[in-house]
Subunit: 280 residues, 3 copies
C-alpha cells in the first residue's frame, strides 16, 4: 500500500496550534511524530494562536503555507469542538500541500488558495493512537495521521472521502458612496491591525474617483495616509500601509496600534476619497 | 568506552525548562548540544513551565514522556537551587528513556512510571563545559551531559552511582463519608484545572454507592456533572471531565476555569454522591 | 560559484527575532529556509526579544553566539527600520560564524567578540524572494540569504562589500570616588537585572581599596552583598551575583527583582566600598 502514497520524505511537517507555550501538549504531539516518523523534519509555525480562535488560525495558515516546500504537511489544531461530532480530516491540495485538521474551517482559507483536490475523514483506527481521549485529538488522531502521511501512507487509507469540508469567510469590504468600509480581521503580536481590505479591492474602489486623495480612518481616529513602510512615519505615530499580508494594515511605528486605537478583531475601518485632492 | 553506552542515535533529545521564551537561555543550551552532538534531533517539550515550579514541570514530564521514542533523552531544567548543594543527575529507566536534571524531584513522577534503573551524579569534568557558572547549569552541565549521552557515552562515565534520588508527591484524594476530596494540581495554559483525582480512585470511591449520582464541586461553586468532552457543555459553561491527563479536570467551554472559579494549584475539589439518583 | 563559498553543511542556522510566538511570521521564515535549504538544521534562539529592542537582541546574541558550532549562521531580525534606508547585511567573522541582519547595531556586540572579517550589503535580487514586501524582510531578504549562505553561496555574491557597519554600545560603568556607577542593561524573563558591570571592571575598581568591603545598591534599595549563587540567599530575598552573562546581576531568589525594585533597563546600580571592612 505504501507505494500508492506520495513520497513526502524531503518536505517537513509544519505545526500550527493554539496550545500555547506553557504546557507539554505540543511536546506530546512531537513525541508521537518522532515515534512514528523519526526522520520527519518538524517545523513550528506557531502555537500562540489565541485560544479557540479558528479565524486567527485560518488567517495565519493562509499567510504562510505558500512559503513552505510544495509537499509540506500542515498539522493544524485549533479545536474548540474536540470530542464532539466535528470530523477530523486530511486534505490534499492541487498545489501539493496536505492539511491535517479538525473540520471546522481552520484550513479553509489556505485551501481556497492551494486548491482542494480530495478530502477524507480520519476514521481508520490503525492511524490513530491505540487509546483516543475526548480532549486531545492533536496527540491521539492528528499527529499520528500527519506522521503516517509523511511516511507515504495514502490519503485514502485514512478513511472515507468527504464531498465537502467546512468553509470560512473573512468578509469583503463594502462600498458606500465615497467610502469603502471593511474591518480588522487580525491583530498581530506587535499590535498591528490587519484589515480585510486588499490591494485589488482598494484599486477597484478608487478607480471610480480619478485624482482623488485617499484617507483611512479607524473608529473615530484622525484620517491616516497610506505609506510605503512602517518606518515612513515618526516613532509613536499611526500609519496605514499594505503589510506582508497584502492587506491594508493600521500600525503605530514602534508601538501597538491595538492599544493606541483600543481596537480589535471586528473594529470597522473606512477608506474615504476626497474629491479634487491628489494622493501623493 | 563508547561501546559500553547505549546507541540512542535515532531517538531525540527532548527539552523541558522554565527558561521562558524571552531570553537566549534555551538557545545557548541548543548551541551546546549542536556543538557536541550535531546530528542529534532536538525537540522542545516546553520552556513555559512557571518559573521555579518543580511540581508543574514534574507533571508535564509525567504526562508526555511515554509518547516519545523509547530511547529519548529528557533534558529537564527547573532549578531554583542552581549553584547550591543539590546534585545534577542523570537517570536511566527500565522503559529506556533517560532523564538529565537537577535532583530536586522534577523527574520523579515520570521515573515512577518509567521505572528507575540506575542514577548517577553528573560529576565528571570532561562532560561539562570547561567553565561552569553558578547560575546556569542548563548550559554548562545538563546540556553537555545530554549531548554526550546521546553520542553513546555510558552513564557510569558521568559520575558516581546514587542510591536514591529526590522524590515528589502530588497527594492522593481522601474519602470523607459521601465525599471524595482532592485538589487542583495543575492549571494549563487554557485555564483548565487538573486535579489529583484519577479514574481509578473515583471508581473505587463510587463502587461503595451503587446507583448514586455523582457531582463535582470546586470551592463553593455549583455542583457539576461529569461529561465526556469539553464540547458537551454550552459555551461559557463550567464542566468536569476526564481530560488528556486521565485525571478529573474542571473546564469552562471556550474560556478559562481558573479565572471563572478564581482557582489555582491547591484549590480543593470535592466529588459527592447523592443517594438514589442515577448518574446519566 | 558554489565552490568559492564555505561549506557550512554541518552547522545550523540559528534564528533570533522579536516576532513573538503569536503569529506565523517565524513559521514563514522557516518555510523559506526549508524550501531553499531543506537539509539545514534550524535552531530557535528566541523570538521573544521585546518588540523593536535592538539592544536586548544585541545582548542576547552576544551572550549565546559562542556556544554554537563555529560555522553557525545567525539569522537575526529586530528591525524597526524595515522598509527604510537601513541596509540588509551579511557579516563573516574571524571566529567563523556568519550574521545575517538589518544594519542597525543588532549584531555588533557579538561581532565585537567574534571579529569582523568582511561585510556585504544583501543587494543581489537572486538571493531574495521574487517579491519583496516593505514590512517583512525577515521572510523576503534575510531568511533566503541565510539559506543560500548555508548552501555554500559565497558572501561576495550577495552584494557589494561594506567598509563599516553600525555599532552599538552598552556603556561602561564609571568611577566616582568610592563608588562604581553602572546601570541595568537587560531584564531577563525571570526579572533578573543584568548590569553593565563586568568582573574585570569591578576588580580594577576594588584593587584601589585593598581589604575594603563591597556592597551593591540599586536605586534607593538596601545595600546587597555579592554572593556566589541565587540559592545563597533566602527565598524572596534580593542578592547580587555574577550570573551567566559574566556581568553583575541583581536577583531575588525565586522571584522577580524587576518587580521587587520596580527597575528596568537604565536603572542605576552603584557598587560602594566601605573602608576597613573585609568582604566575606
Amino acid at each position: 500500500m505504501r507505494r500508492a502514497g506520495t513520497n513526502r520524505r524531503r518536505a517537513p511537517i509544519a505545526i500550527l496550534t493554539d496550545f500555547g507555550y506553557r504546557d507539554h501538549y505540543v511536546g506530546a504531539m512531537k513525541g508521537v511524530i518522532a515515534t512514528i516518523a523519526p526522520q520527519a523534519p518538524v517545523i513550528d509555525i506557531t502555537h500562540g494562536i489565541p485560544a479557540q480562535s479558528i479565524i486567527a488560525g485560518a488567517i495565519a495558515l493562509r499567510e504562510c503555507w505558500r512559503y513552505f516546500p510544495a509537499e509540506t504537511i500542515f498539522l493544524s489544531v485549533v479545536d474548540p469542538g474536540v470530542g464532539t461530532a466535528r470530523l477530523p480530516i486530511a486534505v490534499e491540495t492541487l498545489a501539493g500541500a496536505c492539511f491535517v485538521a479538525p473540520d471546522n474551517g481552520l484550513v479553509w482559507l489556505a485551501i481556497e488558495q492551494a486548491g482542494l483536490k480530495r478530502a477524507v475523514e480520519l476514521r481508520a483506527q490503525r492511524y490513530r493512537l491505540p487509546k483516543v481521549s475526548s480532549t486531545f485529538h492533536g496527540r491521539d488522531i492528528f499527529a499520528p495521521a500527519a506522521a503516517h502521511l509523511w511516511r507515504g501512507e495514502p490519503l485514502d487509507a485514512m478513511g472515507p472521502r468527504l464531498r465537502t469540508i467546512e468553509r470560512l469567510s473573512i468578509g469583503e469590504p463594502v462600498v458606500r458612496g465615497r467610502r469603502l468600509v471593511g474591518m480588522v480581521i487580525y491583530v498581530d503580536g506587535f499590535g498591528n491591525l490587519v484589515t480585510n481590505i486588499g490591494r485589488e479591492a482598494l484599486a477597484r474602489f478608487t478607480s471610480g474617483f480619478p485624482g482623488a486623495r485617499v484617507s483611512v480612518r479607524i473608529g473615530r481616529g484622525a484620517p491616516l495616509r497610506i505609506v510605503n513602510a512602517y518606518g515612513d512615519a515618526p516613532i509613536g505615530t499611526p500609519l496605514a500601509t499594505f503589510g506582508s499580508f497584502e492587506l491594508l494594515e493600521i500600525a503605530v511605528r514602534e508601538a501597538s496600534a491595538a492599544q493606541f486605537f483600543k481596537a480589535s478583531e471586528g473594529t470597522p475601518i473606512t477608506v474615504t476619497v476626497n474629491p479634487g485632492l491628489r494622493n501623493g
